[in-house]
């Protein structure tokens, strides 16, 4: 994500819709993609993106420049997406039987390598779906959005060592899942 100048932020604070559009242009891809990966659903991702920008619009005047604007946007995005995901899960508890879906995937998709070869969007979502939310969010921010450990720590308000251990456990969990798939294939 590119940096946003203080001038643009100040103009947006004063209600300049053009400046706010510039903020949208710079941050919307990040917001939408994080929302999409967390909710695993494009309709929810769209709704989250709208909510995030409305929240930014409402709270921009109160933004104290104590933290980086980017970090602030990351935090709003992650929190809004998690809330939306939980809400959707409650609404449609048995929307998708993910276990059933993973088992019904073609053999080549049981491993990570298999998933790379074909269209891996859905498969990636399915793999992420198996992780707990805290691991999932860390992995998304690190691997898909390329945030540094410091940025993840600031976004989630957790110590860097927690980021480190969550990433390690998330990767381990995914590897175990892939290995289980391999064993199943061999059997």
């Amino acid at each position: 994500m590119q940096d946003i100048t203080v001038d643009i932020l100040e103009r947006a604070c004063q209600g300049d819709i053009g400046a706010f559009e510039q903020i949208y242009k710079v941050t919307s891809s990040f917001v939408y993609n994080v929302a999409y990966r967390i909710t695993s659903n494009s309709a929810d991702a769209e709704e989250v993106t709208q909510d995030v920008f409305m929240k930014i619009y409402h709270n921009l005047k109160g933004f104290q420049f104590r933290s980086a604007f980017k970090t602030w946007v990351y935090r709003i995005t992650v929190n809004t997406a998690i809330n939306r995901y939980r809400q959707s899960s409650r609404e449609i508890k048995e929307r998708i039987d993910y276990d059933g879906l993973i088992e019904s995937l073609p053999d080549s998709c049981s491993t990570a390598e298999g998933a790379i070869g074909s269209d891996n969007q859905e498969k990636l979502n399915l793999l992420l779906e198996k992780l707990s939310m805290e691991y999932k969010v860390c992995l998304i921010l690190r691997e898909i959005n390329g945030l540094s450990y410091q940025e993840i720590a600031a976004t989630l308000k957790i110590p860097i060592n927690t980021v480190r251990s969550r990433l390690k456990r998330a990767r381990q969990a995914l590897l175990e899942r892939a290995r289980k798939g391999l064993i199943k294939d061999e059997m």
Binding site: S28, N33, S42, F53, M54, Y149, K168, L175
Partner: protein, 151 residues
């Protein structure tokens, strides 16, 4: 290994792991698996933001601003209405005083007129009585008795 992949180790530690990987097939396999996993994420296509999204956000903002404006205007009108119609204590007191004064003025005038009318009538009636009374025993008796006493 996770820190190694993320480049979170010092150069010295990084070098030590590289050397270890060259001699340990187990760790080499683990590193390969983790790299594959990473490629899976990196190859994940970035989703395109839907085209109409900004437009709907902009519409929401505009609608909100319009609603705020109309609320503000409605607020001004309401305050004006309250100022005019609401019974403020000062207004209520002053109108009550005014009402009392008016009532007092009117009723006072009427009472006074009535009093003077009664007085005038009484005087007239006495005069009338003294002049035209067929039996003037009041004056005649008094005068007569005293005069009679002294005489």
């Amino acid at each position: 290994m996770s820190d190694y992949l993320d480049g979170q180790l010092s150069q010295k530690e990084q070098q030590a792991i590289k050397e270890h990987l060259a001699h340990c097939p187990e760790c080499f396999t683990l590193e390969k698996e983790l790299q594959t996993q990473r490629t899976l994420f990196q190859n994940a296509k970035q989703q395109e933001v839907p085209l109409g999204l900004w437009q709907s956000i902009q519409n929401k903002i505009i609608a909100e601003r319009l609603a705020q404006e109309s609320n503000k205007n409605a607020g001004i009108l309401w305050r004006l209405r309250e100022l005019i119609l609401a019974p403020k204590p000062v207004f209520a007191l002053s109108s009550a005083i005014l009402a009392i004064i008016l009532i007092a003025t009117f009723t006072g005038g009427i009472v006074q007129r009535k009093k003077s009318f009664v007085k005038a009538n009484f005087g007239e009636s006495i005069l009338d009585y003294s002049l035209n009374s067929p039996r003037d025993d009041l004056f005649s008796t008094l005068g007569t008795n005293i005069e009679e006493y002294f005489l």
